[in-house]
């Protein structure tokens, strides 16, 4: 019969320690999952808010740059005109 490399009491203590360690590991990993999930939630919220801001800015930009606003400012405030054709030159490519 083969003999165990360690005496049974020592083996028992080692196994008990391993059990405790794995238990602690489980606690730690569960905690990590929770923390990670909480981070994910925060990031998702942030993504939502950024998207909200992005679309708001996009709409704002396009309101400021609306063609009718540009043409109104160009003609009413800056007194701009389309150039007369006699002043135009065609640049050949």
């Amino acid at each position: 019969m083969r003999t165990l490399p360690l005496s049974p009491p020592v083996l028992g203590v080692l196994l008990a320690l391993a059990l405790v360690a794995s238990g602690l590991g489980l606690v730690w990993s569960t905690h990590e999952v929770r923390a990670g999930y909480a981070r994910l939630q925060v990031l998702e919220l942030e993504r939502w808010q950024l998207q909200e801001e992005y679309t708001r800015l996009l709409l704002e930009l396009n309101t400021w740059a609306a063609p009718h606003r540009i043409s109104q400012i160009a003609s009413d405030k800056l007194f701009m005109l389309p150039p007369a054709l006699s002043l135009s030159r065609v640049i050949e490519q």
């Binding site: 998207q51 909200e52 679309t55 996009l58 709409l59 396009n62 063609p67 054709l85 135009s88 065609v90």
Partner: protein, 574 residues
């Protein structure tokens, strides 16, 4: 007494009680084994399911609808996050803070109470849909019992009424119900994701199992439209409506080389961002969904039939004396007696007598065949919801007058976009292309079909160019620095008792620049008032103003005169 038992009872009674108790324990253990291990009857699986039913929920992860942008990437329709506020009436209805909530929502407290009473036995009712996130946050921070927020998206149209009819609308649930939004629904609509979580007694999430289905957001749609041209059309159409007092109008601009629709606008308009004021009559994209009799704009196609017959060339002389002609019981008039003139002049002057003679010479079958080939009576390929194909006449027996009126555009109908497409054939050296609302490169433009020879297309362009020159019917269509061509149309509107004497539709379809034809624009003015009701007076100036901008924005090269200088502004009658 028998042997002493600890409690003074007989051994057999003690044994029996022990046995019974052990039996009961055995039953319990057996039942537990059945439930937990062997899974017989209402066993472990059943219990787990029941537990899950009570705690595990799946929630939809909302996705945004794809962006719609113009050919230059300017956004035309944007989905923006909003929050819909809802309440659990069971929790909210007895709250003492209803007044405060109604105040924040700016609604009548009594109306809120009534609504809560109405939905009293339900667990869900909307308080206010599609609120801005800031506003919703303010309400949710108030921690009213049973009041929650739900994330949704709302569609905004930055260009407002300028693109309203062509883009169409989405309903409150974010589905396309009109226009491009509807036509490309599958492309734009995302697929909402799903996630699972465990909820507690109050319905709050306590643990997330993660995402089951990844949300797939909608895709960006790039249209062939150019917002700058769209704006120009919109502005000029509005101006024309104001000047002529017309009830409706449409404008379409095509790039004939690719079949792309560059701009399409209509009057009356509506504001797609103010849904409560929506009037469905104004929401129609009339240029695609409404048919009109095309009138004299069809004479160009009669010219094609005449040239194809081999009986005529542009210089063939036609005698229109005495300026009127009898067909059946009807007499058709020219404004005055034009005498003898060339085929080209007949079209330039839009002579009824001349065209009648052409029609009689080539026959209505030949004309009908040309109309078919140029795409009248068939849809244009845009896939726009509600697009009308128009009707070409299909009489069993053709009367003399019907054979002739076909040649000048009565007795059939077409949409403005169909007319533009028919004229685009001339700009394409005789090739007809399907139209598209999506951006295409010139190199991978959709292949077209040749419907007329390049020579005839060129001849027709020559005539169309003369129409806008002094002596033609559309001198007001001229554009500074460029030669353009086109054809006017003035059609009597149809009322209850037939054609109306005092109500007209004015049309102009033009091609620019005529020496390098590419941009085709159709203008329709419905019921212009006063004396300026004709196509040459009501529609041609609109064409001119729109085309000037089209050519500038699209970088068309101005013509040069013989001396090498650009044709100056002076060369044009304004």
């Amino acid at each position: 007494m028998t042997a002493a038992s600890p409690f003074g009872l007989s051994k057999w009674r003690y044994g029996l009680v022990c046995l019974l108790l052990m039996g009961l324990a055995g039953l319990l253990i057996g039942r537990l084994v059945m439930l937990q291990l062997t899974d017989s009857g209402s066993g472990a699986v059943f219990l787990r399911e029941q537990g899950a039913l009570r705690t595990i929920r799946t929630a939809e992860i909302p996705v945004y609808r794809g962006l719609i942008e113009d050919r230059n990437g300017t956004p035309l329709a944007v989905s923006s996050p909003v929050v819909s506020l809802w309440a659990n009436p069971k929790l909210l209805k007895d709250s003492l803070r209803l007044g405060e909530l109604a105040d924040l929502l700016s609604i009548d407290p009594n109306a809120l109470k009534e609504k809560l009473a109405f939905y009293g036995d339900k667990q869900f009712m909307y308080l206010a849909r599609h609120q801005t996130p800031e506003f919703a946050r303010k309400i949710l921070q108030g921690q009213f019992p049973g009041v929650k927020g739900e994330r949704e998206y709302r569609r905004y149209y930055p260009a407002g009424e300028v693109t309203a009819q062509v883009l169409g609308l989405t309903n409150v649930d974010g589905r396309g119900i009109a226009g491009v939004e509807m036509a490309f629904e599958d492309w734009l609509r995302g697929v909402p994701g799903k996630k699972r979580f465990i909820k507690d007694l109050h319905g709050e999430m306590v643990r997330d199992f993660g995402v089951i289905d990844e949300p797939r957001p909608g895709k960006t749609l790039t249209l062939s439209l150019d917002l700058r041209l769209q704006y120009v059309q919109h502005r000029e159409l509005q101006r024309a409506m104001k000047e002529t007092g017309a009830v409706a109008g449409s404008a379409v601009t095509l790039d004939a080389w690719t079949g792309e629709v560059l701009a399409i606008s209509n009057y009356p308009v509506f504001n797609p961002n103010a849904r409560s004021t929506l009037d469905y009559g104004s929401a129609r994209n009339r240029a695609v969904t409404d048919v009109y009799e095309p009138g004299s704009t069809v004479k160009t196609l009669t010219l094609v039939a005449a040239l194809e017959s081999g009986q005529f060339s542009l210089d063939t002389l036609i005698d229109t004396t005495p300026g009127r002609i009898r067909v059946g019981s009807k007499v058709l008039h020219d404004p005055r007696n034009y005498g003898e003139m060339t085929l080209s002049r007949v079209i330039e002057k839009s002579s009824q007598v001349g065209v009648t003679k052409l029609a009689q010479a080539v026959g209505h079958e030949a004309i009908l065949d040309v109309l078919h080939r140029f795409g009248l009576g068939a849809d244009t390929g845009t896939g726009f919801p509600g697009e009308r194909a128009g009707v070409l006449p299909n009489h069993a027996h053709w009367s003399d007058i019907e054979k002739v009126t076909l040649a000048f555009g009565y007795g059939l109908n077409a949409t403005p976009i169909q007319l533009a497409r028919a004229y685009a054939v001339f700009a394409n050296e005789g090739v007809r292309r399907p139209l598209t609302l999506l951006k295409h490169d010139y190199d991978n433009a959709i292949q077209g079909d040749r419907v007329v020879t390049a020579e005839i297309a060129r001849d027709v362009l020559t005539v169309l160019g003369r129409v806008t020159k002094p002596g033609g019917t559309a001198t007001l269509a001229q554009v500074r620095g460029f030669s353009v061509g086109g054809k006017t149309g003035t059609v009597h509107k149809v009322g209850e008792g037939g054609y109306l004497d005092d109500q007209y539709v004015a049309l102009f379809v033009g091609i620019a620049p005529i020496n390098e034809p590419r941009y085709v624009t159709a203008i329709l003015v419905d019921q212009p008032l006063g004396d300026h009701y004709g196509g040459g007076l009501a529609a041609a100036p609109v064409y001119s103003r729109i085309t000037e901008e089209v050519l500038r924005i699209r970088n068309a090269r101005p013509e040069r005169s013989d001396t090498g200088a650009l044709l100056a502004d002076a060369g044009v009658a304004q």
